[in-house]
Amino acid sequence: MDIEQEKNMDSSQGQSSDVLEVREGVDRETVETVQNMGAYKYGWETEIEMEFAPMGVNEDIVRLISSKNGEPEWMTDWRLAAFRRWKEMEEPRWAMLNYPEIDYQSQYYYAKPKSMAEKPKSLDEVDPKLLATYEKLGIPLKEQMILAGIEGAEGAPSEGRKVAVDAVFDSVSLGTTFKEELKKAGVIFCSISEAIREHPELVKKYLGSVVPQSDNFFATLNSAVFSDGSFVYIPPNTRCPMELSTYFRINAENTGQFERTLIIADKGSYVSYLEGCTAPKRDTAQLHAAVVEIVILEDAEVKYSTVQNWFPGDEEGKGGIYNFVTKRADCRGDRAKVMWTQVETGSAITWKYPSCILRGDDTSGEFYSIAIANNMQQADTGTKMIHLGKNSRSRIVSKGISAGKAQNTYRGLVSMHPKAKNSRNYTQCDSLLIGDKCGAHTVPYIEVKNNSSRVEHEATTSKVDDDQLFYCRSRGMDEEEAVALVVNGFCREVLQALPMEFAMEAQSLVAISLEGSVG
């Protein structure tokens, strides 16, 4: 058999699973996912009886949410103050996003499964329907279960690390796993509503200290109406014994989700935190406005990883989640470190700028992002690196991918304060365009106010390289597989920054998100 024939045989077998076995595990993952899955696999809905607060938002609703959570008076007042500010504010319009006016009065601000009326004492008491929901999503809520990566990846992380999960369903937290084991280490991991009741001193001290009550339009709305979220406290010199994770699920129709996460890493501590989100397929857009605050004290380190996979809307742009998120980490102590990693594949609208305030000396902030927009999706995302401390370091790696008729914008700020001597920033944002109907944009702001710091910014925009595509196709891949492979290569730097399990999920998501973008 001559070489030519061999090649032909190879390529003719390209679609069969036999040949897939031969390829590296990573590649198989992507290809299989593309073959086996629909465009959005989390689009189903859990049919469950819900209890809603009346539609719309006003002071009574704010009070109602507060009382549902059994909050003390100071918290209610804090929310009301935010609500009063919010009424005075205008929705920001500077992002390169085009969406119809949001009617804030035609949303439900509080939705809770009826079975949760009496707060279950442990996960065993939670409605099996809810537990089944998370099982279906692949989120282990039973403590004996360990996260073994995505389906079909059995054996990949064979040792299987433990991950504690806080599961948030619409407006409430269902429960948190591994509480006892974490308690032994002194780690507090619970829902924010529980923290307000059980650890008011910590909440009072830190809530709103990174993202002030009236920081921006969406954060202010969140301050007023947040219904639940996660709270983490890592005591001094503690390495959190397992990864912590929150899984957000929007289920009810016309319901906005407003969750608030507060993470405090005390001196010398370390935690890695994962966040995932999905929502059912619906024709009408739904609002999600979250706030994440992270306080990092001396020598502490926080890694925050997000795989955002809210329903992106259909091909015509109907439905989907409007995702307006304020995330900020404050490196308050010297040598504090934060690392944001995000994979943004979902949402019809993404408005999200995870930021780092590098207040202490020798602090470090990193931001790794993959934002994929396909069909009618629009993403305006990036980061802010505010250098205030001496010798602070920051690194931004952003990969934006646009396909279909989508618009994808990187928007970022690097600011070197006059006092932030000898600081350093490196920014790289690359955009990839697939098709001639989409757009890729870069809007960086660079403000350097001292000369001992160095700031470097680089951005490129290009299309999927024809030579690379040709190479893949000559090896028997169809066009979609080939694009997925090239795109995974383009995103490699960011995927590598993710924790193992997330990296695999992210990789297959990249492939799914781009489905239908070629040809």
């Binding site: 365009l433 001639d436 809007v443 960086p444 660079i446 403000e447 350097v448 710091s453 700031v455």
Partner: protein
Amino acid sequence: MTALVKKDARRIDATEARIATLTLPSGGFSAPARADALARLRAAGLPVRRDEYWKFTDPAALNAPEATAAGAMAEIGAPLFAERDRVRIVFNDGVFDADASDDLSLAGVEIQRLAEADRADLHWARDLYGVLEARGQSPVLRPHAALNTAAASDGLLIRVTGTAPKPLHIHYTHSGETADAILHHCVRVEPGAELTLLETGPAAARFNKVLEVDVAEGGRFHHVRAQGRDHARRAITHVFARVGREALFKSFTLTVNGVMTRNEALIEIVGDNAVAHVAGAALGDGKDGSFHHDDTVFVTHDAVACESRQVFKKVLKNGATGVFQGKILVKPGAQKTDGYQISQSLLLDEDSQFLAKPELEIYADDVKCSHGSTTGAIDETALFYLRSRGVPVEDAQTLLILSFLADAIAEIEDAEIAADIVARLEGWLARRRR
């Protein structure tokens, strides 16, 4: 809501106060364009610091009804480009200086003064005057350019029909302490024609200048300017260019001194295979008052297989501020675009700052676009290397600054003109050694 109305009222008042001090020419071919521009100015209102486009530069002194006083500095040594064979036209405080100017005649070029041509009802410039400026008002408003079209007292109307044998040089002198000049030039480069336009001098205490350039198919236009050295002067200038098929547009600006300078360049590439380069070198010393230099560039690709380059370099010391706002917009269908943008600044001391917003907005997939931006101090290793070879520290610094600026100067095609610019730079650096 009420707050908004209040804010707008203040903007309207400021705009009307400025308009009240203008002398608005009437009649002639430009009358309709001027009337439209005045309406544009009124609709937009003058900018305020809150406007995103003025985030880094305070427009207050540009908006004020009267110009802030600024003394004129004497020329040091030979004037720039003195040794080049050229046609020289002089405006003093924005007023045409016939005695100091050469005859308005250059082979292959028709030159007329706006103030004179404006007596006629028909003129070729009717299709250009205020036309490119009006196009440049979207997506971002440029109220000072509209003000210029409405109120420009003079300027040159230049029609290039052949290859000009030598450059046309417009020199702006400044003598009145509160001179407030508004000039508007139009250049039409006919198919296959070529011109080099030189501009030098401080012009006035406050200078508002618009240059509209329409380069037709296969035309070539070179623009080199050196903004004058008066410490206290302020300037807002706009270049609006439309670049046709296989045409070439190149613009370079050297800025030394000046309390405040905002140079906007809006380049629209409308013909396939065209080339547009815009570059700038700014050296600022905040010691004598302050130095604020803003380059705002917007390049639009609306044709296939075009190339654009933006190269901006700034050297800043003693609390000087450098600003760069640059954008490459690639419209749908503008495939095979090659867009490049670099903005760099060298901060010579702790007090200076660099503020940048380098943007890309791309709607076509088969393109190659990139931008880079860096800020930092002089490279200590390079300095050490030169010193270890026996170069005195100040010479070494000068050498490194010149090499830093080299990429921008390289955008000047004519070697002699580039050498004149380098000589000017060296002189400035030599005078400012400590």
